[in-house]
Subunit: 347 residues, 2 copies
């Protein structure tokens, strides 16, 4: 599982030794808001004049990741990104994270260093301070809990409940790639389990593999919207699949919607690979999840500002509640939009 | 495991149904700082003019708790308390928590309701808002991650590194009870496993059992210190055992200490029960852990203010670093203070 040949058992360091070892390379990027980082009972932060944003997520081995095909460095990177995504989805600036790890004895120090280096890489790239956490032993495989913290001016915050009739429904990037990438990885894992001598066949599939293993939270979209003078009327990140997220916005805003299948952005490689698997690319986008794109609504009057942004697609519009939540297919048929597929408790 | 006879499988509700169900009874207590609680991508908090404090902890089944003798309501209560304790240890006011749960299919809804009701009881009692979190399935038993958030005026914050030579070393409450309570529970579990017809013999041991199963974070001590006009020069909470925590204060303050065995506060029931188990009560206090008392240092000039506080004990004083970290036994012998015992990676 670990390419690194050196193996140091965690028991040689002890909990505090491990914490000292892992945290020695932490650099701080947020001098204005990080008053005190790791090393005390709690981190001390300063958001004077701003609202504080807090979100946390749990990632569990065997549920959220499979170490058979997930490099630990990528896993560390992804575990930070999926949490930052929640802060950006509030139209905020992410500034700090805390990281709690549950580690089983199967992990030598070098494995944890890999995981941690991925986390710190994400922190460096996004100018995030890792300011605290917890490290404990686990009988149950790897447990990762990340809390992300950020800030926003009160008037800039985008909630889920602000969509209005006539608003345009927009999404960043493209959808379904992370799910199709996962299908590829699962297939190659099965091939490998049957015959360990066969090398994985992922040739030319870099983009969708990377979308699954190493997603990027869309900080750039938040900055683009700000630079364009646009405040979305509602926003959410796409973690569970487009359909589920649209339904959240509609439910909390007490509105309906029209979503146009032909407008849903799907990358060509995603499309072709889905077809190879006998999957409907639209279903992959609607229900696949883990895209970590931003879904948001804007006033029609803001459309001109975004017209020439290739990384933002207008995929539909908000309607009155009584019109229902509708998916208009490429052939023009109207279907009720449903959050099928993913259910965390039916896995 | 669950006395409640009704069993509702989590898959009947789905993730969002479960979240709606659990969060419907959340009451908010902090209108000044909780702008937006559960229901969006992140909680929105307002600490204008104050420093924000953040801490998080991970509690894992089989490591931090054993469901054979831990009622889920108590576990929920404790999981909040151990996190609030970190905020109080900064001399801060705890105001919010987020809770991420990993649930295996062995838990019916009614079990999760029990767990959650204990969490909300702790929140109600300590005026804490539960403002967000995550709920996911787990293949690995129950996983609980709590992030606690609070605030403090900058000049009130107590770090671990402020102890000065001559400062008095103080601790709240009494020590070792949680550890001795755990020994009792472990013994009765073994008896039960050998013969399920034998009822547990915990008669008259309520105090130490409660110290293990249902600890209380010492918010009252923070308030008492404030009312007495005292700001500790350093502070930490006693989660890993007195010795380990004293060594943290000494290390981060770059000082030594003299700790007097005879001054360590140990409850009579703790003392007697430890003896029944053939354990040294002092070792239970030094290395047992999970007391969640506050350990702090004060200037000698502040002593008069605390002289008549029965719930605070002066157990030693801070010395120059070169004098070492010393434990003076009841017989007057001087030993080097060591953090023996607990090591999360040697379990």
């Amino acid at each position: 599982m670990f390419e690194n040949t050196e193996k140091t058992e965690l028991s040689q360091l002890g909990e505090f030794g491990l914490i000292d070892h892992l945290t020695q390379h932490i650099k701080l990027h947020q001098p204005d808001s990080t008053t005190k980082g790791v090393g005390d009972d709690a981190a001390v932060l300063d958001f004077s004049g701003k609202k504080t944003l807090v979100s946390n997520d749990l990632l569990l081995e065997g549920i959220h990741f499979d170490l058979a095909y997930t490099p630990l460095r990528h896993l560390g990177y992804k575990s930070i990104q999926v949490n930052l995504s929640d802060i950006y989805a509030m139209n905020g600036t992410a500034t700090q994270v805390t990281v709690a790890l549950g580690l089983s004895s199967k992990f030598p120090l070098e494995a944890i260093e890999e995981l941690y280096s991925g986390m710190l890489l994400a922190c460096d790239k996004y100018k995030i301070d890792l300011v605290g956490g917890d490290t404990t032993t686990s009988k149950q495989g790897l447990v990762i809990s990340v809390t992300s913290i950020g800030y926003a001016d009160e008037q800039d915050i985008c909630y889920r409940d602000g969509a209005n009739e006539g608003d345009l429904l927009c999404v960043s990037g493209d959808l379904g790639a992370a799910y199709v990438g996962l299908q590829l990885l699962e297939r190659e894992k099965l091939v490998y389990l049957e015959n360990p001598n066969i090398q994985p066949d992922l040739e030319g599939k870099d983009y969708i593999i990377e979308r699954q293993l190493k997603p990027e939270a869309r900080k750039d979209i938040v900055e683009l919207l700000k630079a364009s003078g646009i405040k979305p009327t509602s926003m959410i990140d796409v973690s569970d699949g487009l359909a589920s997220e649209i339904l959240h916005l509609c439910k909390q805003s007490d509105k309906g919607c029209s979503l146009y299948e032909e407008k849903i952005p799907i990358d060509q490689m995603t499309y072709d690979t889905a077809r190879d698997f006998g999957l409907d690319p639209t279903v992959c986008a609607l229900s696949g999840g883990e895209d970590y794109e931003l879904l948001f609504t804007i006033k029609q009057s803001d459309f001109e500002q975004l017209r020439n942004q290739p990384d933002i697609s207008v995929i539909g519009h908000i309607t009155e509640k009584s019109a229902g939540k509708n998916l208009i297919s490429k052939s023009g048929n109207v279907h009720e939009l449903k959050a099928q597929g993913w259910n965390a408790f039916k896995a």
